[in-house]
């Protein structure tokens, strides 16, 4: 069980958070103009990497804020935490 440094509250136990899957997948602004395939790409396709993954997390039993986490899924090492709307502080690892 890891510790997440919530950008609003500070370090808290993982049990206070819930994971919202891959980050930086923006909901299309004009869904009606997308083909089935383009819409399906947004709707269904998610990465499940062994290694560095960009994820959305919610401090659900705390401030209830959503934010982004860069986590190595192979060893749970967290490389960065940053707010929604911010650019990743690390491009790639």
């Amino acid at each position: 069980m890891f510790i997440i440094n919530c950008p609003y509250c500070g370090e808290r136990d993982q049990t206070e958070f819930s994971c919202g899957g891959e980050a930086h997948i923006e909901r299309p602004k004009q869904p009606t103009e997308l083909s089935d395939d383009q819409w399906a790409e947004y709707l269904f396709m998610r990465k499940n990497i062994k290694g560095i993954q960009f994820e959305r997390w919610n401090h659900i039993h705390g401030c209830r804020k959503w934010f982004n986490v860069i986590r190595d899924t192979s060893n749970d090492k967290i490389h960065a935490v940053y707010k929604m709307g911010e650019k990743p502080p690390i491009k790639s690892l």
């Binding site: 069980m1 510790i3 909901r27 299309p28 709707l43 959305r56 959503w66 709307g85």
Partner: protein
Amino acid sequence: MSNNLRINKNNFIDQTVRISFKFNGKKLFGYKGDTLASALLANNIHLVGRSFKYHRPRGIMTCGSEEPNAIVQIGNDPSLTDPNVRATEIELFEGLEAFSQNCWPSVNFDVGGINNFLSPLLPAGFYYKTFMWPASFWEKYEFFIRHSAGLGKSPTKPDQDLYDHQYAHFDVLVIGGGISGILSAKLSAEKGLNTMLVDDKNYLGGSTIYQDDNNFKINNENSNQWIKKQIEDLKKLPNLTIKNRTSVAAFHGYNYLLARENLNDHLSSYERKGNIRQRLWKIRAKKVVIATGAIERPLIFSNNDRPGIILSSSIKKYIDYYGVKTGENISLFTNNDSAYETAISLNKSGVKVKVIIDIRENSNSILSKQVERSGIKILKGYTVIDTDGYKKIKSFDVMKLSKDGGSVVGNKITYKCDCLGISGGWTPMVHLFTQSGGKLKFRNNDNVFIPDENKTPSKQISVGSSNGDFELDDVINNTVKNIKIFLGLDKNDLENLNIKCSKEKQKRNIWLLPSNKPISKTKPFLDFQNDSTAKDVKLALREGFKSIEHVKRYTTTGMGTDQGKLSNMHALGIIADTTGTNMGDLGTTTFRPPYTPLTFGAIVGRNVGKFFDHTRKTAIHDWHVKNKAQFENVGQWKRPWYFPKNGETMHQAVQRESKAARESAGILDASTLGKIDIQGEDASEFLNRVYTNAWSKLAIGKCRYGLMLNEDGMVYDDGVTTRLAENHYIMTTTTGGAANVLSKLEDYLQTEWPELNVYLTTVTDQYSTMSICGPNSKKIIKKIIPSLDLSDESFPHMSFKNSKINNVNCRIMRISFTGEHSYEINVQSNYAKDVWERCIEAGKEFNITPYGTETMHLLRAEKGFIITGQDTDGTLTPSDLQMDWIIGKMKYDFIGKRSLYRSDTIREDRKQLVGLLTDDPKEVLEEGAQLVESLDKPIEMLGHVTSSYFSPNLNKSIALAVVRSGKKLKGKKLIVPMENKNINVTITDTVFYDKENKRLNA
């Protein structure tokens, strides 16, 4: 026979306190400080159990948590009995009762022992091979296996013991109270760090505490005297927490560890009463020091499993610590210097060692020379090839090893004995290190896996013998040196100690010792608990298993409750030798938590019974209880299910409640519905985006039903939302969906639409809701609030008014989930019971009838209203539900809109919601029943029943169902095949009652 193997000089057993206990019904006694194992050995009892597969007699083999054989059942109270307890770990207490496991009818006469003679028929993979075929025999095999095998009996009644959980945060956690742990804890606490030291035993000092031998000195004191002083100093340190009888079970990432503290397993039942049995510590430590020590390895030769064959270091502990002789005629068999320490201890206690078999050609250590000088016979370059004796070892055979150690030469010599000590070197206990994600490296010169300091995932360090330092000087010097760096310490007084260690590291490693017989005629046991032999491992390799994980599972090596603490290294060694692989390349199998078994009690702690989960009750709950409601669990909520009167059955009560609601008046506690307060200047736009229908034009004071989808277009939740003011709405959700809907809406607001100025607040608990329905509902509301204009013009269906009931502010919505004229009263929860009682009082003359969830479901089914989660299952679109009318076709976007015309969602043969009528109006369908068109095989399943009731208002059975292409099939006959009959049904409209909605305004 009474304690004739006990010697009288030692410091650890209090021989003034006699403790009586029973083993397999026989009354025995030991002393305070004994473990069950040491007390049994003092009573000359070695045979304690039978092995798992062959039911071979097995005896106490070790003195710790690695014990594979001496596993017992403690007590026979049906709620407190404890299976799979290691006799080597349980402390003796007055009145302890222990029983052998895995033997029937008794440990001395065991029916399953016949398997021993059948053993040529029980090879590796025996279970897989034999019980595979024919499949129909499996039940018989299973009966046989379960009856003759099994490890202990589970308690049959609920556990009455109390268990506790405690969270703890420390700068440094030190695991293990042996010499390296003591020194680490001392250095850490002296530095001022908040430190915790845990040890699974009831004393500190590990094996050093009983090492009273002038071959091992620290600053000119015997090592036991020196460590005693260190422990005394340690106990004075203020910022150190010491927990004995505490074993770390799991080491997770980010230095999160679970440790179980035994608080009263060592006490008599009288002393235990009412106290906590075990405490599970949940520890976060900034830094962790692993000082878990090492376990002595056995040696692998034929019939190495007989009772009386004991690890050499355990023999030493039994004599030095417990004052117990494990035999009168002991010999030792070794590949390293450790057995010589044991010989010296035995000698000092007056037990003459007959012979030491050493597979090494020579040893030059001071220790071995001293033993040789004392007159003990030492056979160098020899090996034991076999043993004899059934319930106890009687003799063993030795032969000279060939130069390369691959075979034996010369003549066989037989020695009589009643105990044989074996020592195959040491295995560092790296389990916790690898649990945390650490990787091991292989040290070739003495064949051990040790922690790779470059592949350590968190702030932790392994010290002492768990790091591969086995000799006193290395242990102390390396621990002090490494802890100094790890904790960033200055110079300290533990550096540059004067240490005398008379042992040598030299060892000769032969994983499987040779014999004069072919391997097929030998029984060299590797895993004593699971009865797997070196033969089995070789067979598995011959049959093509290559991965060590596969070999482990196929042969069951290392899969017992001891997790193969003794067997793993030898299994790996034999695989490496046989396949010509380097052990370092082979790696180890995965060590998984828990390191030693945990009780379920410790895991669940106080979260049992009514503390297992939260129970949510509405503000009106007490009234429901008083009025004999039967309750239904809806999530964590207790909701009234129905209110039986005068011994009514559920069916009778529901029929009565449903009729009353339509004929006069009914009242429902709807407080559990989720309520979300929505405010902000973009609230209308927000609702437009989350619901399928249009919201911008909803007038203030009006209500609207909304359907919420997932992005995949499937119905997610529904409910009525009311516009309280220009920028203020109150949304209701389903009872079960409340928390998830709020989270989902928050997610969109924070991540997709941060530009919207909207605030969401859950008010589910703050407001209580009661729904009054039926043709007389209007009269009842009029009685409670005479001033309120209830005319259809002023207060039409789907509108809301603020009002007061006896000075209590309330919101009244005229909305209906039953199809009747009805009102929903929302009040602050602390007034709810009072308002409810006023409604009941006012409704008396109209026979107002409280009803529960079952009647609510029935009434809405009569109207064809869906319940999300019952009629939907996350695979139905609004169109599938025949609710196309609720799709705002003109809206540019809303959650899930694009998915409504994906190629899959526009298929016409999707499952769609329909109504069903049974040909026999009295026949009520079962929810979940399948619908088919024809009974010709193969039968095609077309759909299933989602809701089904007997309607008292229609006097017939009605049902809702999802059916493939259902929308087009109105009037079609289908069949519901049941176990003993086929029910004929017809597809209908989903609305059964008052299709014109006349009653809403009645």
